[in-house]
Point group: C2
Chain length 271, copies 2
């Protein structure tokens, strides 16, 4: 069985994939989140692993946008505590430049402003790439994982520099088939309210009738019309549950688009 | 009067600032959105101009996060049609690498996958910086504005490569004082529902009683507790209107945090 993940090797997504699938599967690094979706759609991989949300820095927009358009199903979630470390070859006082991924800069924003206000921050495509650059250029550092320090022979100058100690990323496993019902599931769905006054609220009301504790609503541009949005929510229960079937029917009355993205076991692993 | 804006010079935000304030004010480029907020808070600038939302690529998270924590007021909005162009020194067939800002890569995602699937995409801090790099390195290109082509002596190889022709960015003007009421205002507000079952829905219901056509709800991590969120919405009307005062009172019953970010004239300029 092959698993596609957002690479490169030693990325947090790689660690999430290993956490879920163990050491005995073949893990294929992909260059982008879109490539992970492609590999699963084309059957090159059985499942794909991508980040969807960080507890400090918020949703990963590209994952939401891809879920909007593709036919893959969400099969599982993986929660991973994320520790960002300051890694370098030389001493801290020589650092004039720090490399990292934009999301990680967001997770460490307060720390950077306090501890390294004058240092240049350069956004790169992954924390692994950041560590690689820090290993090649003197006077630079990376914000990356302890694993990246080992892989690129860097020293950990400071551990856990993220602004929130409970900094956690939620990853999704996507596949081609729906998951069977367990006794504790979540269902992810997306909807696009009609272009009518009150349609967003009416759509939400049809969910409130279920007595769901809605904790969050993510919004993304529909990419069909300017200032028109699609909304992403997670509900308790499985898409086959009578209550959810009824809610979807009600929701469709107020929406042009309703799409169930998948039902998956609500496991709080690694937290 | 000095205006701070997200630089560098010739950025889209610079163009938005010029559109709003004309040529007779002194415009100060800032290195980051946080620096724009700082300049206004410390009275170095009278107003600041920052991007808040693009119609294709969605909210600018850092602007929302800064509005959450600072005491500045939203005083105006500026809408600017954004045209992304492929700029380079040499011919298109030689391009092995494209530089741009992550938001612009998002705005041109489908075009890039279709037209330049094998070309390396490198994220940099601004489209102006992308144009500068493309002017220095052969075999590279930038996705940037027509103005950047002029400033860095680059050729426009292809015009308007964004996925949506109506691609528009909404900018905010922030200042230290509330705006007086006009006959057509919008009010931006932020709220954090109580940690209770149904609190988000109850908060939204208190707004629905106003017969507001809620088109969008933006969500951001509260940065206080993992998986706790703050929500951003825009309403019609001024914060001094009796209806809004009543709604805020009702909203506070279900929220730990309610903050009016500002009331400002609802002008649809440059569209």
């Amino acid at each position: 069985m092959a698993i596609a993940y957002l690479g490169p090797e030693a990325s947090w997504t790689h660690q999430a994939a290993r956490e879920k699938f163990g050491q005995d599967v073949s893990c294929l690094p992909s260059k982008s989140i879109a490539d992970v979706f492609d590999s699963v759609s084309r059957n090159t991989a059985e499942y794909g692993v991508v980040p969807v949300e960080n507890s400090t820095e918020g949703a990963v927009d590209q994952t939401l946008d891809l879920l909007m358009d593709c036919d893959l199903r969400i099969c599982a979630q993986i929660l991973l505590r994320i520790e960002n470390n300051l890694l370098a070859r030389g001493p801290r006082q020589n650092i004039a430049r720090v490399y990292s991924h934009p999301q990680v800069f967001g997770q460490c924003r307060d720390w950077l402003r306090r501890e390294m206000p004058t240092v240049e921050k350069i956004e790169v495509s992954s924390t692994t790439r950041a560590a690689e650059l820090a290993s090649q250029e003197l006077g630079t550092a990376a914000l990356a994982s302890p694993l990246a320090a080992t892989v690129y022979g860097l020293t950990i100058l400071e551990k856990a520099v993220q602004d929130r100690p409970d900094n956690t990323t939620r990853f999704l496993v996507v596949g081609r088939h729906d998951c069977p019902k367990t006794d504790h599931d979540r269902t992810a769905l997306m909807f696009g309210p009609r272009d009518e006054t009150g349609a967003l609220f009416a759509a939400l009301r049809s969910l409130d009738q279920l007595k769901i504790n809605l904790r969050n609503v993510e919004s993304r541009p529909s990419r069909r019309k300017a200032w028109q949005y699609f909304f992403f929510i997670d509900l308790e229960g499985h898409q086959e549950d009578a209550l959810l079937v009824a809610a979807m029917k009600e929701l469709r009355k107020h929406c042009d688009v309703v799409k169930i993205l998948g039902s998956y076991p609500d496991l709080q692993n690694s937290l």
